[in-house]
Each structure stands twice: as C-alpha cells, then as structure tokens.
Amino acid sequence: MSDMPVFVRVEDYKDALDVMNMIRMKIEDAKRTLEKVRELKSEEDTELELWHTTIDEVERKVDFIDKTLSEPGAM
C-alpha cells in the first residue's frame, strides 16, 4: 500500500497552461532584448576603442605642440 503512487489534483489546469505559455513568450522577449543589448555593447566597445585611438592621437599632437612651444629654437 505504501508503494502506491499518490496523485495530487491540479485545479485550474488551463490557467496554468496559459501562464506557462506566457512565461515562455516572456523568455523569448528577454532573449531578444539580451541579443539587442549585446549588439549595442559591441557597438559601444567599437566606439570606445575609436575614442581611445583618437585620444592617443590628440595626446601626441599636444605633446608636439608643447615641445615646440617649449623649445622655439628647434622649429
């Protein structure tokens, strides 16, 4: 008798199925949003890399100007 399977009655089974479908759709939405965020982050990394390169170039030019101004005879 103790080995007999025990069953639990599930009320509002159809509502549970609807909620499960809704959760599945939300998960798909979250996946699409995450993919979009990933794409934006990739674009942001590209822009940051370009920004870094630009700053290095500006720094070199400023160093040149500073050097030129500090040593006028070298011009």
Partner: protein, 154 residues
C-alpha cells in the same frame, strides 16, 4: 398358569382391500403420452423494444467520428476533466518554480545593477563632453595667439 400358552385369536395374513385405485395406463397409452406433450408452446413475441439511448448516441458518434467539431468537443471535455499529478512530480514542479523565482529575483538585481552602471556611464560621458568642449575652447585660444602674426611682429 398365566395363560401364556393359550391359543390367541387368529390374525389374517391377507391385507384388507384398498378400495378403488387408478389403473396403470396401457403401453399404447404411454406411447401416446410421450409423443404428445401437454406443455404449452410459447407463442413468438413480436414486442417492440424501447430504444437504448447509449446505442443511439454511439451510432451518432460513429457516424460523425471524423468530424472536427466532435474532436474539439472531445478535447474540450478532456480539458474539463480533473487533472491529477503524481505527488513526487508535483513536489519537483514546486521546487522548479521556487528555483525560477530565485533566478527572476537575481535577474531583477542584475538589471538594477546594469541601470546603475548605465547611469554612471552617462554621467561620465557628460563630464567628458564638457571637458572636451573646454579643451576645444583652449585650443582655439592658443591657436589665436600663435597664428596672429601681426600681433606677434608688432
């Protein structure tokens, strides 16, 4: 002496006559009795039976077995039936629901942290934008000083 050996009254051995008894049938009469049974023969019944409702419904279902509405009705009745889950499976489902709820809480915390990072990034970009504008103005000032040749030679 005691009259033990006295002659008793004589008892007749022949029984008394039994009166009028029925006579046995003759062999011919016996054969006649065997051939002609006196049991009543049932007449054939021509009664009309009432229709069985289940049979009528089954016949209707068999006729419309491949019909789509019937299938939908069957599915609907299947959905309306009470559904049972095994207790251990139900416990497993409850455990999974708790796990999903924990993951959702963690996701909410991660999204809040991402929003904080995004706001901080926005503030840094604003600062950088103002700094860049300031540098641009200073460069213009230096450029004006260096390339105003007339002022330098005067």
């Amino acid at each position: 002496m005691f009259g033990l050996f006295k002659k008793k009254g004589r008892i007749s051995v022949v029984p008394a006559p039994l009166g009028d008894l029925p006579t046995f049938p003759s062999p011919a009469e016996l054969d006649e009795l065997r051939l002609e049974p006196k049991m009543p023969v049932p007449k054939p019944m021509h009664l009309k039976l009432p229709p069985v409702p289940h049979m009528h419904r089954m016949h209707h279902q068999l006729k419309s077995h491949s019909a789509k509405p019937h299938m939908e009705h069957t599915i609907q009745s299947e959905l309306n039936r009470p559904v049972f889950l095994k207790a251990d499976l139900f416990q497993s489902v409850l455990h999974d629901v708790q796990t999903v709820r924990g993951r959702l809480d963690k996701s909410e915390r991660m999204i809040a942290r991402l929003e904080e990072v995004h706001d901080s990034q926005g503030r840094l970009l604003e600062n950088w934008h103002s700094t860049l504008k300031e540098v641009h103005d200073k460069l213009l000032f230096v450029d004006g000083i260096l390339f105003k040749k007339g002022d330098v030679h005067e």
